[in-house]
C-alpha cells in the first residue's frame, strides 16, 4: 500500500499527525523546487507554507486522480507562478532570474573560488544555469531532473502533452550542456582518478 495514500486518507479524516508526516516527507523537496523556480527568493519558505496550507484546505477534494506527490507539486507550481507574476508587476525588487544577462559574474568566476564549499559552488552553478533557461523550460527540467518526477506526472502538473514535455526537456538539456560543462568535466576527472 502506498504510504502517501494512507497518510492522505488519514489526514483527510482529520488526523493531524498524518498531515504533519506528509509535510515532513515533502517540505524539503518543495523548498528546493521553489528556490530554483524563484531564483532563491527570500520568500521561498513562505511559498512552501502557502503550498501546504492550500493542500490542507483542499485535502477533502483530493480524489486520487493523480498521486499526492503530483497534486502537491501542481499546487506548488501555481503558488510560484502567482508569486512571480506579483513580483514582476511590482518591479521594485532586484531583477528576477528571468532577466539575468548572460555575463553574470558569479558563474564565470565561481570555479576559482576555492575557499567556498564545493556543494555551495556546485548548487550555485546549477541554479544559475537553470536560471538562464526560459521559465517554462526551467520548470520542466527541474521537475524531471532535480525532483525526479515522471514525464506523465509533469504533463499533469503543467497541462502540456507528454510529447511536448519530452521534447522540451530534451532541448533544455542540450542548452544546459555548455553551461554545466565545468561540473561535467569535474565528474569525468573524478572517475579517472
Amino acid at each position: 500500500v502506498d504510504v502517501d495514500e494512507t497518510l492522505v486518507a488519514d489526514a483527510a479524516r482529520g488526523n493531524r499527525d498524518a498531515f504533519d508526516e506528509l509535510v515532513r516527507r515533502y517540505q524539503s523537496r518543495l523548498f528546493q523546487l521553489v528556490r530554483i523556480l524563484t531564483g532563491g527568493d527570500e520568500e521561498s519558505e513562505d511559498l512552501v507554507q502557502e503550498t501546504f496550507v492550500r493542500a490542507y484546505r483542499a485535502l477533502g477534494q483530493f480524489r486520487g486522480e493523480s498521486t499526492f506527490r503530483t497534486w502537491l507539486h501542481r499546487i506548488a507550481v501555481n503558488v510560484v507562478r502567482s508569486h512571480v507574476a506579483r513580483r514582476n508587476s511590482r518591479r521594485t525588487r532586484a531583477p528576477i532570474v528571468e532577466d539575468r544577462d548572460d555575463d553574470d559574474p558569479v558563474l564565470g568566476h565561481v570555479a576559482s573560488l576555492e575557499d567556498l564549499e564545493i556543494a555551495v559552488v556546485r548548487r550555485r552553478m546549477i541554479d544559475q544555469a537553470l536560471a538562464r533557461l526560459p521559465p517554462d523550460m526551467r520548470l520542466l527540467i527541474t521537475l524531471r531532473d532535480v525532483q525526479g518526477l515522471e514525464y506523465r506526472e509533469i504533463a499533469m502538473i503543467t497541462g502540456l502533452p507528454i510529447g511536448t514535455v519530452e521534447s522540451r526537456i530534451f532541448r533544455g538539456r542540450r542548452r544546459l550542456r555548455p553551461m554545466l560543462a565545468p561540473l561535467l568535466v569535474r565528474s569525468a576527472q573524478r572517475r579517472e582518478n
Binding site: 509535510v23 515532513r24 523548498f31 519558505e45 525526479g148 538539456r173 542540450r174 544546459l176
Partner: protein
Amino acid sequence: MAADDETQDAVRRTLRKRPPEKLPAGAEDRLRKRIDTEQSAPKRTAHAKLKTPKLKKRAR
C-alpha cells in the same frame, strides 16, 4: 546520436546531484503553527452565506 545521448545523460546526472539547501531553522514549527490557525479558523460554509443578512433597498 550517441553524442546526444551522452549529453542527455550527463546533464540529467549532474542535475540529479544538485546539493539540496537546508530548510531555514524552525521552518517546520512555523508551518505547524500556521496549519494550527487554519484548523481553528471558522469556515465560511454555504449555510453561513445564506444567513448573511442582505442590505435592504432604500425606499424611494
